[in-house]
Assembly symmetry: C2
Homo-oligomer: 448 residues x 2
């Protein structure tokens, strides 16, 4: 059905009655409808939006990307905008508003119900990446002395507008969180059972100011579907659901990929970021690394005399630099990732270094052997040269592995993000050192 509509759009002949009919089919998913909207021009968006069934419009809107949301809002009347945003879950409303320019935000907030506006404004104040900024306020709350029957009544009456009904939150009269009860427990209990007797008092919760990455780690550890968020006084203020956590996990992974690729992390999708901004996110790191690499150049210059006597030495510089960089990036990648998923902690540092030394030795021997044979066969069976290059290669790999595992852990210790200690930085550090080792060994062997 989605494909049928997309075909009509691309063919340029749209039968609106047919589209309206398809939109209201039960097999039509709101996510797919939102995807259809991404293929529409400005003037078509409002036409399509107005024929959406009333009960799906907000849901479709929540799944659109920011550009499409903005176009839609700009084309609709104030009343229509108000209706949509009133029907959005407050976390979706906040996500949407955060992406809009100031004039749109103003117009949206003017047309929203008073209470919703207050909640939205509250959530907007939580720092980026905090639990408060990703939570929503539509949850089911129960009192401990209610019965299961009464709980079901509450769910039936208010459940349609709650983000999840599968975990209900039990509060004291002063909003202090005292327990959680799952819909499963409710369904398996007797109608007359008291909530206080069947609720789970082992609550995994977050404070509004907790970092979203830490919250995601708790979701993973305890296999949660939802988590309550409390303020400093432990009063319940919102919940976070697993679908938002999946997004957090992907965001945090993207951030790590970017840092490890020597990029300034950015929330915006690549294709929607301006060229200037993309370039700015890259230039700083490139500059830092370029200037550090000139140090390596200085190392080479200082051995100019050796090079003049034995020019063949230059030919092995790229191989040594690249292998050192790769060996180091292998180690740093594993350690950074291991710390990110919690498999490696700071107390493993000695164990990790000892492992990397042994791995480095094995890799060094394997690569050294291949390298020795290759140089022997290709560079006129010069055993001294073979020995000098191979010994340097071995030292380079061993050093790269050690630096590659130690720097990320050192960063963690200093509370710097280990991800920025990745390949590019380590490559630059290893380069200079490995060339010093190389030239020193060469000087010694060839008595330069």
């Amino acid at each position: 059905m989605k494909d049928e509509i997309l075909e009509m759009i691309h063919a340029g002949s749209i039968d609106m009655t047919r589209v309206k009919n398809l939109f209201s089919q039960p097999q039509m998913n709101t996510v797919d409808i939102a995807e259809i909207f991404e293929n529409l021009d400005r003037e078509k968006i409002v036409q399509f939006f107005r024929i959406l069934p009333k009960n799906t419009a907000a849901d479709v809107f929540a799944h659109m990307d920011a550009d499409q949301q903005q176009l839609t809002v700009e084309s609709l009347t104030d009343t229509e905008v108000g209706e949509i945003v009133n029907s959005l879950f407050v976390d979706d409303a906040v996500d949407f508003i955060e992406e809009m320019p100031a004039n749109v935000v103003k117009r949206v907030l003017q047309n929203v119900q008073n209470e919703k506006r207050k909640t939205i404004n509250q959530l907007l104040q939580y720092p980026d990446d905090s639990a408060g900024s990703i939570m929503t306020t539509e949850y089911i709350d129960l009192l401990a002395n209610a019965t299961v029957q009464e709980a079901f009544d509450v769910i039936r009456k208010t459940g349609l507008n709650k983000e999840t009904i599968y975990t209900c939150y039990v509060m004291h009269w002063d909003r202090l969180l005292v327990g959680v009860v799952s819909a499963k427990t409710l369904m398996l209990a007797r109608p007359q059972d008291k909530i206080g007797n069947i609720m789970d008092t082992n609550i995994v919760f977050a404070y509004t100011t907790d970092d979203q990455e830490a919250v995601a780690a708790l979701f993973k550890k305890y296999d949660l579907l939802a988590m309550p968020v409390v303020d400093k006084e432990k009063r319940l203020v919102g919940i976070i659901t697993i679908d938002d956590i999946v997004e957090v996990i992907e965001e945090e992974n993207t951030e790590d990929f970017e840092k490890m690729g020597a990029l300034n992390p950015s929330d915006e999708p690549y294709l929607k970021t301006s060229i200037i901004k993309l370039a700015r996110n890259r230039i700083l790191w490139l500059l830092v690394l370029m200037l550090s690499a000139t140090v390596t150049g200085g190392v080479i210059s200082s051995f100019e005399h050796s090079l003049a006597v034995l020019p063949i030495l230059v030919a092995f510089i790229p191989m040594l630099m690249d292998t050192g960089g790769n060996a180091g990036s292998q180690s740093s990648t594993l350690i950074i990732r291991g710390m990110a998923v919690g498999e490696i902690t700071l107390k493993d540092i000695i164990k990790v270094i000892w492992r990397e030394i042994r791995i480095g030795t094995l890799c060094g021997i394997a690569l050294g052997l291949v390298n020795f044979v290759r140089i022997y066969l290709m560079n006129g069976r010069d055993l001294l040269l073979c020995t000098a290059v191979t010994a340097s290669l071995f030292c380079t790999i061993l050093m790269a592995k050690s630096v590659g595992c130690m720097l990320p852990m050192l960063a963690k210790k200093l509370k710097i993000d280990p991800a920025i200690m990745a390949a590019p930085l380590i490559t630059t550090i290893v380069d200079g050192t490995s060339l010093i080792v190389y030239f020193s060994i060469a000087k010694f062997i060839f008595k330069l």
Copy 2:
């Protein structure tokens, strides 16, 4: 409470009555108990395991890591082992069995109920990383002509042993999947409503052979909590729940990190993998890249004459190589990640290349300027040298950006994993080319 037990363990004076009491507290989480087990010696494990409340033992077991599971199974009697595995969800049982050595597997399967053994054996046959290998078979199935009241009866009777009761699956008599109905819909419906009338016929499902990464993408797109898995004839055979998908997402991300760090991906945690295996996962890529880097060495050798005349040229090799590598890895990281999360598709290739060319130009100008000034000030105000190095730097960055974005997309086109086209490989490719450009420009400018 967890901390109290951990303290007792570390102090070496364990009060088993107290531990048993703590284990049965409602605030005690099975995940935390499993964590306590990780701190126990072999002989203590079985002692602790036997004082677990009957209804939590299987749950605790499911959350242990493989080593601890093995120690536990090895210390328990056949009957006890049978009991635990019979109480495990079949996907957890499969996960556990897959990690065990052959003799343990044999013993486990011998002591499991016939039917469970059959299901386990079936699931074990699905290929690694397929939907079939991560699904479970404990779901609630309903018939379309049942009423909501009857559905609740089914849930109450069988729900306790189902992995989720929040999505129920509606089947035709021949097990053909015809719809899904959420517990929310059931709770909000009238008892006499027919399931067939309230179920959702817009079903997002997977085939047993689908790749787990594709399944995870569907979960993310449609914000699902569970997804039905069908066989080739579209008969329902299992379900996948969101907690397993969160693990899949992290696994796939780890795999991408590893590939991008020039490592053979491995499922095992770093600290639990043998040194030999870790070294093996690294050596192949190091060898390939080392041998490719020797090509770059060959490039340098072929310009030996120029170097002899103007030895200062060598000093800029590390800076050019490193900057090229970093510029390329920035682009490849963004493109690989963008494709992994679905933000960039193959049809964007022209757009992406054009963006990278413009970004490369901006980065090239910025770095070129800094570089020009630096060389001018530090290398005796030699304008020719400044020009040669800066022009080479600019070309290197532009080329690195283009190669960095094109290779991952080319890989995707050829159905190779784009992640292996990451920093290390691109560095090696850019190295040689940039040195050729460098020496050619130098030869031209200095008329060597």
